[in-house]
């Protein structure tokens, strides 16, 4: 059993511990190392894109739900200017999320060319 995001071993997470209030949602959230492992497995089974997705996901594990939801919203059509998207990319780079930063840079370029940036 791997550990949860908090570092707690899954074996220590029991119904009894939940009743006693000793378990947080971070104890039952996936750890980035586990996603890295799943990425390796996906790559070995002929799906490099699924592997890449798991690696982007590993970066997002460290971010709050609210921030992740706000990043999603920023990528929806017409929500962000070209510069805003690049700002997000810089923030993500600084936050140790280079793969997601690259996604935002690509989006900035594609959205500008296709008229999908905020006016």
């Amino acid at each position: 059993m791997p550990q949860g995001f908090s570092g707690k071993d899954s074996n220590e997470v029991s119904v009894d511990a939940i009743r006693k209030g000793e378990v947080t949602i971070d104890d039952v959230r996936i750890h980035p190392d586990t996603l890295e492992h799943q990425a390796t497995v996906a790559g070995e089974h002929g799906n490099a894109q699924l592997a890449a997705n798991f690696r982007r996901a590993a970066e997002l594990t460290r971010m709050t739900d609210e921030y992740v939801l706000s990043l999603y919203d920023a990528l929806r059509p017409g929500r962000s200017t070209h510069d805003t998207l690049l700002e997000y990319a810089r923030d993500l780079e600084a936050a140790g999320a280079p793969l997601n930063a690259e996604l935002f840079r690509q989006a900035a370029s594609a959205y500008q060319r296709r008229g999908l940036t905020a006016q």
Partner: protein, 742 residues
């Protein structure tokens, strides 16, 4: 006004003519395959970058092209893959000597137009073989819709438990009222946990809301992440390939399984097909799904299945879409959800090849509830059809994911599900349910049977879930505090599965022992007869043993329950010389083991009618049991030879009857009632009258066999076999006996 002849008036009234059938029109996207505007496959690389794809240079790429070009192609093999002759590759798809792995490897380098060109070559039979061979997971499965008009948490939970009992491994719910979503997610998760370990649950709502539910642990997978094949429709859906790719990663970042949704016809339906065929646009969606890193795709028409169904080859294109997903090495959730025809025949035909081939999920939404309660709209298969589906599995020996459930088990699960929801909602302050409401939900076949449901409760429960930040941990604690330990453990197991992450891999489901079955752990190894998925003997028995099946001992017991013992033998029968004498020869089980005919009349009632009919004609009926044959002709002939008039009536206790004469061959007769299930007292009386007239040397007007357009044989043949076996057991060398009806 009757210019249309009767034959066509009659045909026009048939239900299939409620369906819309479109004249193909490429300009509107109303074309299944090969629009003249579809591009020819092409790919040009320069310095390891795609600079041209499917007839467009990179400057002209829309966001879909661009995302596929950046992420979707294995460039190391793309040139090799694009150079392969499409027809040859199509043949390899159905060649059992060519491995799935080699096909998947090459398909990774194929552009959307290339994939469309390959798969449009397969005819229906070839699609069945290709699907059998190419799907990711070996073990087939099925997904249920569980919804209702009132978002009733008790009914949702009871129906979720019921769906699990019938074998579904995934449950998708949604809401008529968006604000009810959190309550629905909780209720269905609890009900699913009552039904079985390892049930995957999703609540299909707007993308951000659905993700938020997942983050709280209240659902365990997501599916309604929609892709479209043209940029305009994609953007109209308020997303881009980048936002959807990010969403895909967001789900994985919380350890939540996710697949995307696409399906032919949606772009045409929304007026944005760019004159391309449905199949080519779907090829773009499938390529994009892979490019984004989604593990699977729900496609095969989905909401626009009836648009595809309206054009020539459209239904074939829906299945070809599914095979394309499999060829891209992704999980295939193969449509068969939205009801695509008013015709029972067409909707069955639409599903049947996929049903035979098997897929990761045969239906991406079998309506396990009644049609009217399906808040996605009626499915192609609904609770009205569960027994049909189970019978089809049994007919073909096919595992399409479902299994028989007993009334007793389902009743107990429904009770426990409502009790668990009642306890959790009360414990968490989400709401209280009356006992009348609960009893109605347990018994209900649908929400119309739950008049006491409070429509406001789901909304206020949902608000409380959001305001007080209820997560699955709180639900688990509430279950445990109220004695639902098993369900608490099952819900916890689903949270732990997210920590483990194995169910994020392609085509993952859980079996009932919480083992992950996926591309990784349960890969499809089909390579011709005797290989690949075959139901285990235990599983085959489950498929075969539907609750309606009857054995001879069941039929014997049923007859025993009707036994009145009022037909008795009084001694050895003699030959009469009285010209008024008409013998009624009865079969060996009469008065012993068979008491009721197939029409539901008692054997005694039938004999009374014969006697009365004969009496009307001034004849004397005499009942004689012929013990040494079960053959009706021989019974009749033997009786005729004992009869003073030379005329007899022969009766098998199951109700088949004839009039015989002593000089005829055994298999000849004067008149015959062959359709025992449709006979009534009047008809038996008429046979008595006619026998009397024959005895007097007259030529009566022949009796008419009743005729019906129902499948009488299908209904009764099983019973006939059993009843004949009982007759045979009763036959002996005992001489004919006089019988009396008391």
């Amino acid at each position: 006004m009757s210019e249309v002849i009767g034959r066509f008036r009659f045909m026009n009234e048939q239900r299939v003519n409620l369906d819309g059938f479109a004249t193909p029109d490429a300009n509107l996207g109303l074309i299944a395959f090969d629009s003249p505007h579809d591009p020819q496959p092409s790919l040009t690389l320069h310095n390891g970058v795609v600079i041209e794809m499917d007839g467009k240079t990179s400057d002209d790429f829309d966001t879909i092209d661009q995302f596929i070009a950046l992420h979707g192609l294995d460039l190391a093999i793309a040139e090799e893959a694009m150079a392969i002759d499409s027809l040859r590759f199509a043949r390899d798809l159905v060649d059992m000597n060519v491995s799935r792995a080699s096909l998947v490897r090459l398909a990774a380098g194929m552009t959307p137009a290339k994939l469309a060109q390959v798969l449009s070559q397969l005819n229906a039979a070839e699609l069945v073989i290709a699907m059998t061979k190419m799907r990711a997971r070996s073990t087939p499965s099925n997904q249920a819709h569980v919804t209702n008009r009132s978002d009733d948490p008790l009914l949702l939970a009871a129906d979720a438990a019921t769906a699990a009992a019938f074998g579904f491994r995934e449950i998708e719910t949604t809401v008529p009222v968006l604000g009810d979503a959190p309550s629905n997610a909780v209720a269905v998760s609890i009900g699913a946990a009552v039904g079985s370990p390892g049930m995957l649950v999703q609540c299909s709502v707007e993308e951000a809301t659905e993700l938020a539910l997942g983050m709280r642990g209240l659902v365990s997978y997501a599916e309604t992440v929609s892709l479209y094949g043209t940029e305009q429709i994609f953007v109209d859906g308020d997303d881009t390939p980048w936002s959807k790719a990010f969403l895909t990663s967001a789900y994985a970042s919380r350890g939540i399984k996710m697949r995307v949704t696409s399906g032919g016809g949606s772009e045409a339906l929304m007026g944005g097909s760019e004159k391309c065929s449905m199949f080519y646009l779907e090829a773009r969606c499938v390529s994009l799904a892979r490019a984004m890193g989604a593990q699977g795709v729900q496609n095969g028409g989905i909401d626009a299945a009836s648009v595809a169904g309206s054009v020539p080859g459209g239904v074939r294109s829906l299945m070809a879409e599914n095979v394309m997903v499999m060829l891209r090495n992704l999980e295939a959730c193969t449509g068969n959800d939205a009801l695509m025809s008013e015709s029972e025949v067409r909707r069955t035909s639409r599903t049947h090849p996929i049903f035979i081939a098997g897929s990761d999920f045969i239906c991406s939404g079998f309506g396990s509830i009644q049609r009217y309660d399906n808040m996605f709209g009626p499915s192609n298969w609904n609770s009205e059809d569960i027994d049909d589906f189970l019978a089809m599995q049994r007919d073909w020996g096919v595992d399409a994911g479902l299994r028989t459930a007993t009334e007793r088990d389902v009743a107990a699960l429904r009770r426990r599900a409502t009790e668990a929801v009642t306890a959790v909602y009360s414990w968490l302050g989400l709401g209280d349910f009356s006992s009348e409401w609960a009893e109605q939900a347990i018994d209900a076949a649908g929400s119309k049977d739950v008049p006491d449901a409070d429509l406001m409760l789901p909304l206020s429960a949902s608000r409380t879930i959001v305001d007080t930040d209820v997560t699955m941990l709180d639900v688990i604690a509430a279950l445990a505090e109220n004695g639902f330990d098993i369900e608490a453990e099952r819900c916890l197991d689903m949270l732990k599965a997210r920590v483990q992450g194995d169910y994020l891999q392609t085509a993952a489901i859980f079996d009932e022992s919480m083992n992950v079955l996926s591309l990784i752990t349960d890969p499809n190894t089909y390579a011709g007869p005797g290989t690949g998925y075959r139901p285990s003997p235990e599983r085959q028995e489950v498929i075969d043993t539907i609750r309606q099946q009857q054995s001879v001992s069941d039929i014997r017991a049923e007859q025993h329950s009707y036994a009145t013992h009022n037909i008795v033998a009084t001694g050895t029968a003699h030959i009469s010389h009285d010209p008024r004498d008409v013998v009624i020869g009865v079969s060996p089980a009469t008065g012993k083991d068979i008491w009721r005919t197939l029409s539901g009349l008692s054997v005694a009632e039938v004999l009374h009618e014969f006697m009365a009919g004969l009496e009307e004609e001034g004849c004397i009926g005499r009942i004689v049991r012929i013990n040494d044959t079960v053959d009706l002709g021989m019974i009749g002939l033997t009786a005729a030879r004992m009869s003073g008039s030379g005329i007899s009536i022969g009766l098998q206790a199951k109700g088949t009857a004839l009039i015989h004469r002593r000089d005829l061959a055994p298999l000849a007769n004067l008149e015959l009632y062959s359709v025992a299930p449709s006979l009534n007292r009047e008809l038996y009386r008429q046979m008595g009258i006619n026998a009397g007239r024959h005895a007097k040397g007259a030529t009566p007007e022949p009796m008419r066999n009743p005729y019906s357009d129902e499948a009488i044989e299908a209904r009764y043949h099983t019973k006939v076999v059993g009843l004949v076996a009982i007759e045979r057991d009763c036959s002996s060398d005992t001489a004919p006996e006089t019988m009396e009806v008391r």
